[in-house]
């Protein structure tokens, strides 16, 4: 356990020293700021159509994550493999599972930290809006949990991609491809129009999930869907790292 924490700390330090982290943080600030601005203008113009807004912010978040997850994760294994430090790391008394887990946990924590400016959202509105909107706490929690679940899944895909290659660029592109493939599962409805395609698409669509979370609808099946998928992908990454010894 202590070794795991040591690994986490080193990964976090590496993230903090890496310029990509700040690119991602700025990306989120821009997206969140834009969302904030849309919210504020739509409120000042009278009737905030919350449904449309939620949909837009769901899209905004998912698209941002599609770019941010590869950026945050591409370095994790690819760079260690390229520079040879993976050999040093894997000849220390740690299991590949601990390494994968620590890298993932550190990245997830970092991701949560880049989302942190969102927390200022509510207090700012309350302080500056003439008529403070009534914020549904369930929706606020839902947004946070949804962002972590969906973002967490995308990050696991990125980590898996990074475990497959020795080039950061290929890792990033591969991660982007995996995430895009997952997103395009919404196209099932189009391929298979009158069967269960539609239902399947909504069931798989992270955008629909995000919108649900933002409305304060917490579906434990959706949460389980992301948690299980994340665990599965991380397990795959652990297998890849272990398999490398045998190749």
């Amino acid at each position: 356990m202590r070794q795991w924490l040591v690994l986490c700390r080193r990964e976090l330090a590496a993230h903090v020293l890496s310029p990509t982290t700040y690119v991602v943080a700025v990306l989120f600030l821009v997206v969140v700021g834009t969302g904030f601005w849309i919210l504020v203008t739509s409120m000042s113009s009278g009737a905030p159509s919350s449904a449309g807004l939620v949909e837009v912010s769901g899209w905004g978040f998912v698209l941002t994550m599609t770019a941010a997850a590869p950026l945050l994760t591409m370095r994790l294994f690819a760079e260690e493999r390229r520079s040879g430090t993976l050999e040093t790391l894997l000849t220390a008394p740690v299991t590949p599972g601990a390494v994968v887990g620590a890298k993932y946990a550190a990245t997830l924590a970092l991701f949560a930290a880049t989302l942190a400016p969102t927390l200022a959202y509510g207090p700012l509105l309350r302080a500056f809006a003439a008529a403070p909107p009534t914020v549904d706490p369930a929706a606020a929690w839902g947004l946070g949990v949804g962002a972590l679940l969906i973002g967490g899944f995308f990050l696991s895909l990125g980590l898996f991609a990074s475990a497959l290659t020795r080039s950061q660029i290929s890792a990033g592109l591969l991660a982007f491809t995996f995430i895009a493939l997952f997103l395009s599962s919404g196209l099932v409805a189009w391929l298979w129009p009158d069967g269960g395609g539609d239902a399947l698409a909504t069931w798989l669509s992270p955008i629909a999930h995000m919108a649900d979370f933002a409305r304060g609808v917490f579906d434990s099946r959706v949460a389980a869907f992301y948690l299980i998928n994340t665990a599965f992908v991380l397990f795959g990454a652990e297998r890849v790292v272990e398999w490398e010894r045998w190749r």
């Binding site: 070794q3 040591v6 040879g84 430090t85 040093t88 894997l90 000849t91 008394p93 740690v94 010894r245």
Partner: protein
């Protein structure tokens, strides 16, 4: 300490290591010697648990590398061939991280890091960023990392690679002092280096173990195969005929060196050093002698000698 049995490792169609069997006792310094591509790095990586064997078994301190990889790695300090470190970290920070990762208790981390840094001569650069250090210093940091958790077994893959002659001498001394506390297995493709530091050598060629034994035995058997070079002012045929008595079956090669001088090369027959006899011969015949030396056989020639003429590196 280490018991390797019938170890084989294949990379696709390439067999890098084949049926390797050897043992290393506690407290020994063993050198693994072989030309490029002999399979030294592959073998050391398997013992260090970075690669898994295709066949065969490895036991370190009684533990099987396959059954208890973490337990084995806890007892090993490994210096990879290309010392790879995190360039953004500072030396001390890196060593502390590695010590904690390898299970040194929090109380002892500072003391262990200070001691390892002192031993490897990196104490004066401990505040520097690793990426800005020279290759030699990075190599020393990697060595300090290998010993920071006081492992029973040290595995050093070409520990003097990239060091200047002065540092190589220091590294040799360091390795000898380390032997008091650790069992050491190191690799090299430089014969004198192994001869100077190790008790015992394993000779690897094309993935196979050609010979193993104490350094003195090996060195003696090689010394018997010395090549003698002599420059004389003498008639060619007469000199060749006289020297042929001292040479082995291959005979004497004579080259004209200009000004009446000639250079004869031959491989000595028997165990002894033939040089005094050559000098006596020259004196008795009244030949002028301006050079007389014996050349060590190069590693490549040693391999040829050990494998028999047929087998060559691919």
């Amino acid at each position: 300490m280490v018991a390797v049995e019938q170890l084989t490792r294949r990379f696709g169609p390439v067999t890098a290591v084949q049926n390797l069997t050897f043992e290393i006792g506690r407290g020994e310094i063993v050198g693994m010697l072989g030309p490029n591509g002999a399979g030294k790095t592959t073998t050391l990586r398997m013992i260090a648990g970075y690669l898994c064997p295709s066949a065969g078994s490895i036991r370190v301190a009684g533990l099987s590398v396959l059954d208890d990889p973490v337990g084995v790695r806890r007892r090993i300090g490994y210096l990879p061939e290309h010392a790879a470190l995190y360039p953004e970290m500072r030396v001390e920070e890196y060593l502390r991280y590695r010590a904690a990762l390898k299970g040194v208790t929090s109380r002892r981390v500072a003391a262990r890091v200070a001691e390892a840094a002192e031993m490897c001569g990196v104490a004066d650069v401990r505040r520097r960023i690793i990426g800005q250090l020279s290759k030699g210093y990075r190599q020393r940091v990697a060595l300090a990392d290998a010993l920071v958790h006081e492992p029973q077994l040290l595995i050093l893959d070409e520990p003097t690679l990239g060091l200047d002659p002065n540092q190589i001498r220091q590294a040799r001394e360091l390795i000898r002092t380390l032997a008091a506390r650790h069992t050491i297995l190191l690799s090299s493709h430089i014969l004198p280096e192994v001869e100077m530091t190790c008790h015992r050598v394993l000779i690897l060629h094309c993935g196979r173990l050609l010979a193993q034994g104490p350094v003195e035995t090996l060195a003696a058997s090689l010394r018997g195969r010395r090549r003698v070079v002599v420059q004389l002012r003498a008639p060619a045929e007469e000199a060749c005929a006289a020297l042929a008595r001292l040479a082995d079956g291959a005979g004497v090669r004579w080259e004209d060196a200009g000004g009446g001088w000639g250079e004869a090369r031959f491989e000595a027959a028997g165990e002894g050093d033939p040089r005094p006899e050559v000098a006596a011969l020259a004196a008795s015949r009244g030949w002028a002698l301006r050079e007389l030396r014996s050349e060590e056989l190069s590693l490549e020639q040693v391999f040829v000698a050990l494998t028999g003429a047929g087998e060559r590196a691919p």
